[in-house]
Amino acid sequence: MVTLIEEPVDVSAVFRGGKLSPTAFMWEGRGYRVRRVLGTYRVVKGRYLELYYSVMSESPEVYELRFSTEGMSWSLVRVHTED
């Protein structure tokens, strides 16, 4: 099941090899360590760039994070969960 979230989140990320990659994020007061980045893609929106990351933490859920150069902000876009 997919749940649309669209909420700003705090994210720790690293720049490595010319790429940005999230390592942990905080959502609803709980910390999630990024164990695996499953996929990434980018969208150009006007003058701004949006980077999307599908990430997994400890559980099977997949979280889609978005980094936007507009305001240099991170958001949790949606969560894919088992029914």
Partner: protein, 445 residues
């Protein structure tokens, strides 16, 4: 069923205005089929495969990717179904409601067009490493012309080398994108495309020119590219059930019944296709700007088609303004069913880059076609392009249109400024909200 070679020589004059989705153009008749080696790459359940790749909990489960404006995927249409979902009879174009009825336990997710476009660009880069001539046919289909690469090879070695290239291409895509693709190889685009359907998913099929009669003849006629359900019914009423039956039917009879489409179908039944693999993404002189939209199941509703046209004209003129071109000839392209594609054009009195005059011309062309009675099947693709271009440097000439409605230029400039800053989706006409906004076209840069 024998396919006689001399029947191939019964071609008439070239019909350049008509095409069978670009596959059956009668141009370049000087080539013989055996000279070429074409590869067609077709990604397997593309949207669903990308989602299953990125979200492990969807792997091995029925997954339905939907075009829908509903947060909960409660309505809309199925964009792609995973192979697990297809076992429940779910397929693209079906309503989400019906898909939910067939498999309530399936996972339903929104189509994420920018994500699929990103992967499609990466797939294209892989293909461009393998061939000098690559044509993007759709978001998940690519043609590669291997002819020049295999020129030095002779006889069977040429086709074996093509198979090896097909294997290598599939392996590259699997390794770099974690996706599977089916590959068809044949002497032309039509045969290569049909071959890629023979072994799905993850297939690799070669159809040699000499195998064409034996392979095509026994197939049901709807396996031929260009034959949809309605055309199949029409052909069935004539006793034509297989591609072999179609090839045996005198071309004059098919032309009498279906017009120019009859000849195109007859050529297809013989495995004939002389169209070239077009180049994409190359630096070349811009001759036109165009956009088209596939309408899945198709429609004959003129209001819906006009609304679609409006969105296309907005997108086309937006690109023209961004790249500094004015144009004068408006071309309307329509695909009726799957087989029949044709175009109509109108030349404006003035050069323009504004949406209204382009839309007015395209709409007039559409209305004329709608009343012509030529649409035997629903319209499945609408396309608009503007040609006869010139650079817009030095300012745009004040036109009669500007005098009639001077506000449009100012409004368009304001909209462009907003879109330049915040992206294409930041503002749109209210009439284009809804299904059109889901197409992803308005997101493309």
């Amino acid at each position: 069923m024998r396919f006689a070679a001399d029947a191939f020589n019964r071609e008439g004059t070239a019909m350049t205005q008509y095409s069978m989705r670009g596959l059956l153009q009668a141009a370049d008749l000087g080539r013989t089929a055996g000279e070429r080696c074409i590869l067609h790459l077709d990604m397997d359940a593309y949207f669903a495969s990308v989602e299953q790749r990125d979200v492990p909990i969807y792997r091995g489960r029925p997954l339905v990717v939907c075009h829908t404006s509903s947060d909960f995927c409660s309505h809309g249409v199925v964009a792609t179904a995973s192979y697990e979902a297809r076992r429940w009879g779910i397929k693209a174009g079906m309503s989400v409601w019906e898909a939910r009825t067939r498999c309530p336990r399936a996972c339903f997710v929104h189509a994420d067009i920018p994500k699929y476009l990103d992967s499609a660009r990466r797939i294209l880069r892989v293909c461009e490493r393998r061939s000098h001539r690559v044509e993007v046919f759709s978001i998940d289909e690519v043609f590669l012309d291997l002819t020049r690469l295999l020129k030095a090879r002779a006889g069977d070695g040429r086709w074996e080398a093509a198979l090896e290239m097909g294997r290598a291409l599939k392996e590259d895509i699997r390794r770099e994108l974690s996706l599977t693709a089916s590959v068809g190889i044949g002497p032309n685009k039509l045969v290569a495309k049909m071959a890629s359907e023979f072994q799905k998913p993850d297939g690799l099929t070669l159809v040699l020119p000499e195998q064409l009669p034996g392979i095509l003849a026994p197939l049901a006629v709807n396996k031929l590219v260009g034959v949809g359900s309605r055309m199949r019914r029409n052909l069935g009423a004539m006793g034509i059930e297989t591609i072999g039956d179609l090839a045996r039917t005198p071309v004059e009879v098919l032309e009498w019944k279906f017009g120019v489409i009859g000849r195109l179908l007859w050529r297809g039944a013989w495995g004939r296709d002389d169209s070239l693999v077009g180049m994409s993404g190359q630096d070349h002189e811009v001759k036109s700007f165009g956009h088209s939209l596939s309408l899945r199941r198709g429609t004959g509703e003129v209001d819906l088609l006009e609304n679609t046209l409006l969105g296309l004209c907005e997108a086309v003129t937006r690109r023209m303004r961004r790249e500094g071109y004015l144009g004068r000839t408006v071309n309307l392209r329509l695909r009726v069913g799957y087989a029949m594609g044709y175009a109509r054009a109108m030349t404006l009195g003035e050069y323009t880059d504004l949406p209204s005059p382009v839309y007015s011309a395209a709409r007039d062309l559409l209305r004329r076609e709608a009343s012509s009675g030529i649409w035997l099947e629903p319209i499945t693709t609408v396309g608009v392009s503007v040609s006869q271009l010139r650079r817009g440097e030095g300012g745009r000439q004040v036109t009669l249109w500007d005098c009639l409605d001077p506000r449009e230029e100012k409004l368009t400039a304001a909209l462009d400024a907003l879109r330049d800053k915040y992206g294409e989706g930041v503002i749109t006409r209210a009439s284009l909200l809804g299904e059109f906004s889901l197409s992803g076209m308005n997101l493309a840069r």
